[in-house]
Amino acid sequence: MSTRARTPVLPGVLAWIAALLMFFPIAWMVLASFKTEVMAIATPPAFIFPPTLENYQEVFERADYLAFALNSVVISVAATVLGLLLAVPAAFAMAFYPTPRTRGTLLWMLSTKMLPPVGVLVPIYLIAKSTDLLDSRTALVIMYTLMNLPIAVWMLFTFFKETPKDIIEASRIDGASVWQAIRVVLLPLVGPGIASTALLSIILCWNEAFWSLNLTAHNAAPLTAFIASFSAPEGLFWAKLSAASTMAIAPILVFGWISQRQLVRGLTFGAVK
């Protein structure tokens, strides 16, 4: 009881101040998205104002926003599905049927992730150019699938490792077939792991901004590249930039908050648990 009474208030207050400061740029952007262009660059800045939806309207009407958003969705989902199709069997095999080679394979996969993208920019660009894949969704789907494959395999591997094998053996002894065991016993156990791997993959694909800026021009450009087009001085409309940005990050913020616990596991290759 005494420890409870002595719980200091100060750390909580400081933590809240830090959290609000960290979130402030995002909040300020969302606020600006509801201002008029004149109000968005006004000094002193407007904190209270009649909100307008005209930026959202204009972004939708003028900038082919939907085409860019569709590219982001298609590319992220396709790369994630493809990646899981490759990673789930591999991780399953390595977790449940380890061989003497498993350890080496896992570490080698990790090491491929360490290859800096810019080191292979030239060949990838030239391959895409010669196969007519420049500015195509296919090129980004291939790049993202392979880019995230090591992370997906590792993350799934750590989830599968934690699944008690005895339960499956018990169900087999009880007479379940292999497929029954996988479907009824294993899947419900590893389902959450697969789901959070998928979420992390979507987040990473959605926010990727090296290949999307270098391999796409207009047809296949996802939202990261669309937002980059606002960096041109003549394109500088703060309120519209804010509206487009708000829409671009909203879905991923939600995904990120859902998967925050698994994030650490996925991005550190199980080195921190």
Partner: protein
Amino acid sequence: MSSTALATPRMRPAKKGLGGRVNTLPLVAPSVVLLLVFSLVPLAMTLWFSFRRYNLLNPAIHGFAGIANYKYLLLDPGLYQSLLISVLLVGEVLILTICLGAVLAALFEHPFWGRGVARVLMIAPFFVMPTVSALIWKNLLMHPVNGLIAWICRSLGLPVIDFFGNWPLSSIVIIVAWQWLPFAFLILLTALQSLDESTLEAARLDGAGPISTFFYIQVPHMSRSITVVVMMETIFLLGIFAEIYVTTSGGPGVATTNLTFLIYQRALLAFNVGSASAAGVIAIILANIMAAFLVRTVASRLDV
């Protein structure tokens, strides 16, 4: 609970338990083969191009260049400048994120009112795409005339900071640190939460205050995770590209041209494939030094 339904015995003789010998090659091979092709083919091509005379703008010039690309590159002060920028960028962001991340993790380790919500707000910047965070910071916050920070400075009677005019690299460091602080924070928080409660209790009974607890118990406990953060962030931060692309394009001059941006300029703006590839090889070698440490650290924790 629902799995008990499965226990209805069907008495089919089990051939092999899950621990039996199964040929797993078809399950693992697709991933391995694709990754192998994906990593080896471009790598070999980069190496090959780095020894070639190859400019996309002038197809007439081609042929074996020997070590001319490397010689030219290693004599170019631009390379060393870009390496210095890369190191400064990575180093400054690392110091900021790890120091702040450790302190914040210690603050969030105690329960307080609304901790879950505060944590969600805290990690939000990590999910903002790089082009958005760079442009929002550059315009809405750091703009020398209309930006919010300029207004705050003026209201307080302080001189206005022209972020991207006078401090281009520091401005990028601030933006990148804002994006990566949540990563360091989350990992260090996870590490702190695995600290045994009785250790803290013992320290408290021995009269240790929060400051000495932090430095003598929590920081040593986090040391392993700090190593992981250093290595992971280094690998990602060496590749910082979009933030530079949308804010400064490497300028003014070459003040914010890191190695990644230098290679991009050589390859896709100057179309000098040979020179860009030679620089790419240097980037790969640098990343591999860091990667070797990381793989070793992960390997020590991996029980297969």
